[in-house]
Amino acid sequence: MSLLPLLLAIEFGENDADLVRRLQKRDARAMAELYDRYGRLVYALILRVVRDGGIAEDLVQETFLRVWNRVQGFDAERGGLGPWLLAVARNRAIDYLRSAAGRMRNAVEVPETDHPAMFADMEKELFNSDRVRRVRVALQKLSENQRVVIELAYFEGLSQAEMADRMKQPLGTVKTWVRTALKSLRDELGTAVVA
């Protein structure tokens, strides 16, 4: 499995602040660097959610358009550019899934989950290969049901009630799986996140 996108993210990680400043000055070359740095991560995430290459391309374009138009509100010194991009990408993709399935649009999308100000003071090398490998290992250590609920929440944006319907399980059981899974991930990865 290629870790090239992650390695690229690490390679250029130290220059995110400079890149943000250039994006804020509307430097078109900065957009090219932003795409080269994070485009594959964004595409992989969106494709994982929507499972359709053509739709994923549209949503990647929407993601970068949204970032380009909102980058003025991003703190170049403190912001976590990669996590912000992934949050915008996830919201775009889940919004599409909800729309395609006739579900309500994500009502908490913009102000609470992908506003640039929410990504201040994040770890600069969050996506280095070692950390991502530890995430994969931690996910593999979860029980099948715990892993499924985390994936349904993250990659499909299902609420806990929707997960209960999908999995034909009592809501209380699903909530227990979610909380246990998140605690396990926190315990496994806590040092990776705050290191």
Binding site: S2, L4, P5, L6, A9, R26, A28, A30, M31, A32, R40, L41, Y43, A44, L45, L47, R48, D52, G53, G54, E57, D58, V60, Q61, E62, F64, L65, W68, N69, G82, P83, A87, S99, A100, R105, V108, E112, T113, M118, F119, D121, M122, L126, R131, V132, V135, L139, I150, A153, Y154, G157, S159, V178, R179, L182, R186, L189, A192, V193, V194
Partner: protein, 252 residues
């Protein structure tokens, strides 16, 4: 709720699956820069971000880079009026031609080439400004909380597919891919179809060479009385009523 009671909900909040009560509470703590909840949610956000970064790597198609870079290309031209710049460049070229070319014929050719270059750059500049205006309008519609989204063509790989966003205040935004470029003398025409009424013309557009299209009908739309948005292939001057079978039909 106290910060201590909220700790277990930070990841749920970040995932967007916290219940309303906890979501509201955490939102309020963040709003007042709570010294416990702000760093707590930040750590949760880092954890959740890493789940996304752990998705299996996939190589995107090369054309996607071009599509993304087009965003910045349009913006660049909006902040600078390049025509005077290029005019100055053209003037420089013209002077150089006169100084260094004793042949009047060569100078004339330079002048013609420079004029053609200037005209082409001006045309491109106007096109980029228009494209930028369209992108800004598109973003404005996408940002509207009341915008309704309809997906079309999602189940079939070949016909046009994409989404229609309808906002009662800003208008209708059509985003499509897999479109065949309109043949010579033809153009795509969008229609807003009211319930029980005749289709209303909603503008003409062409698909890009990569099969993508973005078209906007700006202005208020009565979403409640709208049954569908459709697109037909028509003569390039446009027609008052559709004359062909829709290539796109998005029922609300």
């Amino acid at each position: 709720m106290t910060c201590n009671e909220l700790r277990d909900y930070y990841e749920l909040y970040t995932l967007g699956i916290a219940e309303d009560a906890e979501r509201t509470e955490i939102g309020e703590h963040l709003e007042r820069n709570c010294p416990t909840c702000v760093p707590g949610v930040r750590t949760a956000r880092e954890l959740i971000s890493m789940i996304g970064a752990a998705a299996d790597p996939v190589q995107p198609p090369a054309r996607l880079r071009k599509r993304v870079l087009a965003i910045a290309g349009g913006q660049k031209s909006s902040l600078w009026n390049w025509s005077p710049v290029w005019a100055a460049v053209a003037a420089g070229l013209l002077i150089a031609a006169i100084v260094f070319n004793t042949s009047a014929q060569r100078a004339s050719r330079e002048l013609q080439r420079t004029t053609a270059l200037l005209q082409r750059l001006e045309v491109e500049s106007v096109a980029q400004v228009r494209e930028l205006a369209g992108l800004h309008e598109a973003l404005a519609i996408l940002d509207q909380p009341d915008a309704r989204q309809v997906v079309f063509g999602g189940a079939t790989p070949l016909p046009p597919r994409g989404r229609v966003f309808i906002d009662p205040k800003r208008g209708v935004l059509l985003l499509a891919s897999n479109m065949t470029p309109a043949p010579s003398g033809k153009i795509y025409e969008m229609w807003v179809i009211p319930k029980g009424g005749k289709p209303v013309p909603a503008g003409l557009f062409q698909a890009g060479s990569d099969g993508t299209a973005l078209h906007i009908l700006a202005g208020p739309v009565d979403v409640a009385t709208t049954a569908a948005v459709a697109v037909t292939l028509e003569p390039e001057a446009g027609v008052p009523q559709p004359t062909s079978t829709p290539v796109i039909a998005a029922a609300l």
